[in-house]
């Protein structure tokens, strides 16, 4: 699993480098377009993902002590954060699309929409993974001696969170 997570981080890493590279070539365009973004929504989303990560940590902690029920509850809480993130993100995207903005508008929007959508799909995948783990935890499929599945799901969720924590300041804030 770790090699996969590293590979994912590598993909995002290359994208971030490409962003930085593209930005140095047209700083003004990037700064101007950046101001059109909804920072509040981005900030709330950051909070949502960080809380989600925290809940996942609690879930792992609970199952380590053998509490399946509590583990399930925290996992559901984490997924709720993920779902809220997705809704906010969709609102953000649809606002841009209604304004006639697409990946072909300019290089900044290519990164904002492209990277954002790419990350969006990762959140969806993270939800699917957490969903599968939750289902198994709910049925009592993990115990204090065997909770590798929860840890793996948690690791993936942290990765998705980590990527956002880099992505948010890079695209929304860095001016």
């Amino acid at each position: 699993m770790w090699c996969f997570i590293l590979a994912e981080l590598l993909v995002f890493g290359v994208f971030f480098l490409a962003y930085a590279f593209a930005r140095t070539h047209d700083v003004e365009l990037f700064n101007a377009s950046q101001l059109e973004l909804d920072r509040t929504s981005g900030f709330i989303n950051t909070m949502l993902l960080i809380s989600g990560s925290y809940f996942v940590v609690l879930a792992v902690d609970r199952i380590r002590h053998g509490h399946s029920r509590a583990c399930t509850r925290w996992l559901i809480a984490a997924m709720a954060c993920g779902a809220a993130f997705l809704v906010l993100k969709l609102v953000e995207f649809s606002g841009k699309i209604e304004a006639g903005i697409s990946m072909s508008t300019n290089t900044f929007y290519m990164f904002y929409l492209g990277l954002g959508f790419f990350h969006f799909m990762h959140v969806v995948l993270g939800m699917v993974i957490l969903g599968a783990v939750t289902l198994k935890a709910w049925r009592g499929g993990y115990r204090a001696s065997d909770y590798a599945g929860v840890e793996t799901g948690a690791a993936y969720w942290h990765m998705v969170d980590l990527v956002w924590i880099v992505l948010f300041p890079l695209i929304y804030l860095l001016n």
Partner: protein, 458 residues
């Protein structure tokens, strides 16, 4: 060989090698036409020779994949093939269709061939690599579906291993993506966009699954390393291949009228495409280092290691060389592309098919391995072909760099033909390297006829 029905692979492999020889002969004709322009004109114009060269490559690799599938799937599924008769019937149909198509190319003007074969009903011909007349394309689909039925039935009722599942997924993908060859819109940009769904999603997608399964199968057999370990590697490698390769399609969308964001998507993902190939190299070497037995078939081990290295060089390194959009802006459609194409096809697909042939042919002929002399000759042919292909690639790369400089970068750009004249020396050297390749291939074929006592493991 555990099951009688695995023997159907034999005619597939023999046909593959025969067509391979044809491919090389036409390659040499083209190579000469690059420097002696009117060679064999008007009997065999360059475009006809090229069509024969590339189509033979595709057809013989497909023969190789099919033969490999008919051999490894029964063994992995631990049961006889669902219908050996169907497999043999498909062999003859495919061979007849292949030969008839090649003869059609050589004997009839292409426009006439198109008219005769119903291209006016559904125009699919005249696009690179998909030049086959409509009946041949339909034939490919029929043969592929019959094979998939045959193999799927075998696997469904037998043991399901990672290797036979991956092989099957790869072959299904091959058949499904080929269906895009029937889609030829009037809009040239859309035509090209979906043309790559056949070409790219084959060679940088589903074919890699087939290749991975074949390599994993041979490595299990010749090294005796635990199946769990090898199958885990297989999954990781092909996962990386698809993760990078699917969006990597974007590196073909830079300059054909698609939106410009593909320059970013294509560059980022295809920059990562060498990773699965590098893993394949590491995979082959570490499995051989951890071997639990000495397999008497040394030649097969050499081919397996060779395909790991050469696939990485050809597909990984030479691919990366010109995949980034700012570089590709200058290299696109030059001899650099030709250099990459040659080494990648040879290193990845030619060599993996020969690996499979090298491992299975002695078994199908009733021995664990060929005689030491036959193996020595085969290994010589390995070095001759591999080294000469490396040189072909280097000469074409040199020609490409010079061509790009003269025609696209310098202050007074030369016309295409003027630039071609300047790089003629490299084309001559490429042709000589091609002759060495041919001698290697002839040596390889001769190794099948060397008798002697079978080698033993020690």
């Amino acid at each position: 060989m555990k099951y009688q029905s695995q023997l159907v692979a034999k005619p597939y492999f023999i046909a593959a090698i025969g067509l391979f020889l044809g491919q090389i002969l036409f390659g040499l004709i083209m190579g000469l036409q690059y420097v002696v322009g009117d060679f064999l004109f008007p009997e065999i114009p360059f475009n006809v020779a090229r069509m024969v060269h590339t189509n033979l490559l595709i057809v013989w690799l497909l023969f190789g994949f099919m033969g490999a599938a008919y051999y490894l799937i029964p063994e992995e599924a631990e049961r006889e093939l669902h219908s050996p008769k169907l497999a043999m019937a498909m062999f003859w149909i495919f061979l007849a269709a292949g030969v008839a198509t090649i003869l059609g190319y050589l004997l009839v003007p292409y426009a006439t061939l198109a008219e005769w074969t119903g291209n006016d009903l559904l125009a699919t011909m005249g696009r690179e690599f998909l030049e086959q007349p409509l009946p041949t394309k339909v034939g490919i689909v029929v043969v592929a579906l019959a094979m998939l039925y045959n193999l799927s039935m075998t696997v469904l009722r037998g043991r399901k291993t990672a290797i036979n599942l991956v092989m099957l997924v790869g072959l299904w993908g091959l058949a499904i993506f080929f269906l895009f060859s029937f889609y030829n819109p009037n809009n040239l940009v859309k035509d090209k966009y979906f043309w790559w769904w056949v070409v790219h999603l084959w060679v940088e997608g589903v074919w890699e699954l087939i290749m991975g399964a074949m390599l994993a199968f041979v490595l299990i057999k010749v090294t005796g390393v635990d199946r769990e370990v090898i199958e885990k590697w297989l999954y990781v490698i092909i996962a990386m291949a698809l993760i990078t390769g699917l969006i990597g399609t974007g590196h073909h969308y830079y300059w054909i009228g698609a939106p410009e964001y593909w320059q970013w998507w294509g560059s980022v993902f295809s920059a990562l495409e060498p990773i699965p190939f590098f893993m394949m190299t590491v995979f082959a070497f570490s499995m051989v280092n951890r071997r639990r037995r000495e397999h008497p078939n040394k030649a097969a081990v050499l081919w397996a290691l060779g395909t790991g290295v050469m696939a990485f060089l050809g597909a990984g390194v030479w691919g990366f060389l010109h995949t980034l959009a700012p570089v590709n802006y200058f290299t696109h459609g030059s001899q650099i592309t030709a250099a990459h194409g040659h080494l990648a096809f040879y290193g990845a697909y030619v060599m993996v098919v020969i690996t499979m042939i090298s491992y299975t042919m002695p078994l199908m002929r009733g021995r664990a391995a060929n005689s030491p002399l036959a193996q020595t000759v085969e290994m010589w042919s390995f070095w001759l072909m591999t080294v000469s292909m490396m040189f072909i690639t280097l000469f074409l790369t040199a020609a490409g760099i010079l061509q790009i400089w003269l025609q696209r970068i310098s202050d007074q750009p030369m016309s295409f033909m003027a630039a071609q004249d300047q790089v003629a020396l490299f084309y001559w050297m490429r042709e000589y390297a091609g002759l060495v390749f041919l001698s290697g291939l002839l040596l390889y074929i001769s190794s099948f006829f060397i008798k002697g006592k079978a080698a033993t493991a020690d």
